[in-house]
């Protein structure tokens, strides 16, 4: 079994790399993800209302945020032989060009099963104003 698991403790925090989207990075994300939804590239379209929501300008892809969280997890896991097994996210408020978002995870539980070793983590992403832009849960494995 992977001995790195023994060092994983409830309450332990993992800090991710801050990410600062720009209009250019959002456009690049359109090209890399093939998601050209006008939410992410058309300022005129974004002056309109979306049901009860008014964005007032283009927003970063929620999945860009997902990728930033996933990078935090794999950066922590790869050196320890760990594997990202699950990530669930909910987007709370939009991220816009000029924002800086920072992901953080906290280990909430560890568990050994018949064949492997697991940890669950709460995930939170905050912007430069300390507002929570995304929350989620992750599950990771430390296989033998």
């Amino acid at each position: 079994m992977n001995s790195a698991f023994e060092a994983v403790k409830t309450g332990q925090s993992i800090d991710g790399t801050p990410f600062s989207p720009t209009r250019e990075s959002i456009r690049d994300f359109c090209e890399a993800s093939l998601d050209y939804n006008p939410l992410h590239l058309d300022d005129n379209y974004m002056q309109g209302n979306f049901g009860k929501t008014h964005f007032g300008g283009i927003i970063m892809h929620g999945m860009n945020n997902f990728g930033v969280i996933a990078k935090m997890l794999t950066d922590w896991l790869y050196p320890q032989g760990g594997v990202q097994r699950r990530l669930e996210t909910r987007w709370k408020i939009p991220v816009k060009p000029g924002d800086t978002i920072t992901p953080r995870a906290t280990v909430t539980a560890t568990r050994k099963t018949e064949k492997s070793q697991w940890a669950t983590l709460d995930v939170q992403v905050t912007n430069q104003r300390g507002e929570v832009v995304a929350v989620g849960e992750a599950m990771v494995e430390f296989p033998g």
């Binding site: 790399t17 990410f19 990075s25 690049d28 994300f29 359109c30 090209e31 890399a32 993800s33 093939l34 998601d35 050209y36 939804n37 006008p38 939410l39 379209y45 979306f50 049901g51 009860k52 929501t53 892809h61 929620g62 999945m63 860009n64 997902f66 990728g67 930033v68 996933a70 990078k71 794999t74 950066d75 790869y78 032989g81 594997v83 990202q84 097994r85 699950r86 990530l87 669930e88 996210t89 909910r90 987007w91």
Partner: protein
Amino acid sequence: MTEPTFETDFWKDAQARKIWDDIVPGQPRKTIPYTLTLEAIQKYCRVVGDLHPLYFDEEYARNSPYRGLIAPPAIHILLMFACTPADDWMRSPGTVNAGQSWSYNIPARPGDVIRLQARALDKFIKKDRLFAVHDNVFFNQRDEVICSGRGWTIRPV
């Protein structure tokens, strides 16, 4: 390998797409196979600032437990749109991503021919918003599951 051309104008085919009323939970969605290239993997990695050598350094990757270059787990972000035809309701302009939940089995690799099994899973109204849930499983050319997941979207009105 040359990247295939993808439709970047999400307004095109907009009239052909299902609106919330037309979405039938349980109904399969049409998908298209996609060959994942190293170029596409690295383009995705660069835009999220993830330059891990498992995605970029062939020798490092070959000597790792993965025994070769892989894609990061979140490559399904690209695969979702790469495997979805232009008239799918996922591409409706104004579709807002509310949340995602993904499980990972094995990594995708450069050269994999990716197949997506997809369906509408659920739809509901919450806080006066129209939600639809899509359910997805990505397989490689050996029919091994790469990852599976669901997305909650708020439909445009």
